[in-house]
């Protein structure tokens, strides 16, 4: 081989190597803007919040730099806080389950109906997203009280004999939470349904499976991932949200969101509020990991 050919080969190899390096770098470069935003505006404040939760607190000062486990100990020993954790988890769990159940039926209906109904249903599901949470709460305030729409409707229908108020009850808080998270749940599930070949339902029936069996054997396994994703997003939302349950629920409905707000603004105890927030974030993360582990490998075949 001549010297010229060898140097050509070397140049070619160098170019190849450079190309490989660029290829390896490309995904990182593409991710960079999002990564910076996440780290700067989410990672950093979270770390700061964790640090804050170990600071000291005396008198009416917001916080005093230091290091103590006092707030965490307080959080898990004071029945006020443990009760709030339990209430929050219970409310979020029930609301999320109800949201997924309603959202699933709604999405299934839209998927099964002819295409001309689709736009109408999607429009209906989008409508609540155009209104702010606060405006929706005002809406509920007209709906639930003794002289509200619900009471009036039930009375006119002859289902009750005396006006009732459901305002400031756990039920009202529950309904409010479901209402807020339902649209997201619906769209997540609809996107999953849209990935399924409707002929599968016919194939299942054709092979002798009654509808309930078809649901269990075909629909449920194919939508399981969607159910878990919809559940996790509902759960995260309902765990963290503060306005809806405090505005619609009873004064005694102390959720974590409410307590964080109270510790922060009312009691001027920033470390305590941070400790509560850390527990909230950790709890949500734990639920996400749990739901992720419930997704089976097989589901990846459905597209």
């Amino acid at each position: 081989m001549t010297a010229a050919a060898r140097s050509d080969d070397a140049a070619f190899a160098a170019q190849r190597a450079a190309q490989e390096r660029r290829k390896a770098l490309a995904p990182w470069l593409l991710m960079l803007p999002a990564l910076i935003i996440v780290l700067l505006f989410f990672g950093l404040p979270t770390l700061y919040m964790v640090r804050m939760s170990f600071n000291l607190h005396f008198d009416q000062r917001l916080y005093v730099p230091g290091f103590t486990f006092e707030h965490y100990i307080n959080l898990f020993s004071n029945p006020l806080f443990t009760g709030a954790i339990l209430t929050t988890v219970k409310l979020a769990l029930v609301a999320s389950l109800a949201t997924v159940a309603i959202g699933y039926c709604f999405a299934l209906l839209v998927w099964l109906k002819p295409a001309r109904w689709r736009l109408l249903f999607i429009g209906l599901a989008l409508a609540p997203l155009l209104i702010s949470e606060i405006a929706i709460i005002f809406g509920w305030w007209m709906f639930f009280p003794k002289n509200g729409l619900l009471s009036y409707a039930l009375l006119s229908a002859g289902l009750i004999h005396d006006k009732v108020s459901l305002m400031y009850t756990e039920f009202a808080a529950f309904v409010g939470l479901v209402y807020v998270t339902l649209p997201y749940c619906f769209f997540i599930l609809l996107s999953i349904f849209d990935g399924i070949d409707k002929r599968l339902l016919e194939a299942s029936a054709d092979l002798g499976a009654p509808p309930v069996r078809t649901f269990r054997e075909v629909m449920l396994p194919l939508t399981w991932t969607g159910i878990l994703v919809a559940f996790s997003q509902s759960f995260i939302w309902t765990m963290g949200t503060y306005a809806t349950p405090s505005a619609l629920g009873p004064d005694t409905l102390w959720t974590m969101g409410f307590l964080i707000q109270e510790q922060m603004l009312g009691k001027h105890n920033w470390p305590m509020a941070s400790a509560l927030a850390v527990v909230l974030v950790a709890g949500v993360a734990a639920v996400m990991i749990l739901t992720r582990s419930m997704q089976s490998e097989r589901n990846s075949f459905h597209v």
Binding site: D197, S204, A205, D206, G208, T214, V218, R298
Partner: protein, 349 residues
Amino acid sequence: MTAPAALELQNVVRRFGAVVAVNNVSLTVGKGEFVTLLGPSGSGKTSTLRLVGGFEELDGGAILLDGQRIDHLPAYRRDTATIFQSGALFPHKTVAENVAYGLRMRKVPKDEIGRRIAEALDVVRLKGFEARYPAQLSGGQKQRVALARSLAVRPAILLFDEPLSALDLSLRLQLRAEIKRLHDELKFSAIYVTHDQGEAMAMSSRVAVMNAGAIEQIDTPETVFHAPSSEFVYTFIGESCCLPLRIDGPDLRDRAGNPVPLALGERPADGECRLYVRPSRLRLAGEAASLPNRLEARIHFIEFLGDVYRYHLKAGALELAADHAGSIGHGVGDVIAIGWRNEDMRLFR
């Protein structure tokens, strides 16, 4: 008393709003018979099949399977098995689980299920693919699994809903031959829906040509091809040239009024008519010399189709296409003779 037919449709009607998709269709499929419903899209062939499978509601008539009425039963209570165009394999189940599905629903004992899976996969030549998922199979393999899944339940009738139309040509021919072989071996009864005349001809015991929701003709492939009962069947079943003519006693003219010197065998009645011939039956130049029907035509353009050259010719207002193996030594613009035998043409009015 003779044994009942595998399937019988009696005056079946299906409407979609104002559109009559299936208009009074009657059809009998004997045991072991392979009947094809052939027609263009919108002819009602798929609707007819879906009525049998139980995916559409009947608006009139009756459907009998093995002599028993089934049109009131839901799909899952009917002893039919459909092979869908898309295959419709369960993506979350393996090949073996897919084939087992219908057997489990029919409460077949476990060891018997295992035997039948092996048998069905053996028949469609997919042994060793049991643990694969549909996403790991090619298009042709998916359709074989779909076939195995339907065969495994040993239904009273198999319903094929254009199972090959999504595949490429060579695979289509291969699977077509395989379905034919399976039918010869297993002697199942089947209805096969297609818009491909080749498939219909190659596989069927009988072909039912459908148009506008009704069966135009139902007979053996040979009869349908050689003795089509209507203009629609003639034009749908193979390629054809249409020659619009006006007959007035001995005078024969095209639509532009030019005289057309054709013998036409027996002199047909007066009036407007359409004469049809098939490109493969036309003879050109010297080969046309002794034929009773002959025209002088100018070569308009020539297509090379692989096996044959197709000569597009014009004679006055008439347009013809003739196939010829190899070149005839004439080019575009040349005027040559074109002719055909009396038995190779059909007249419709």
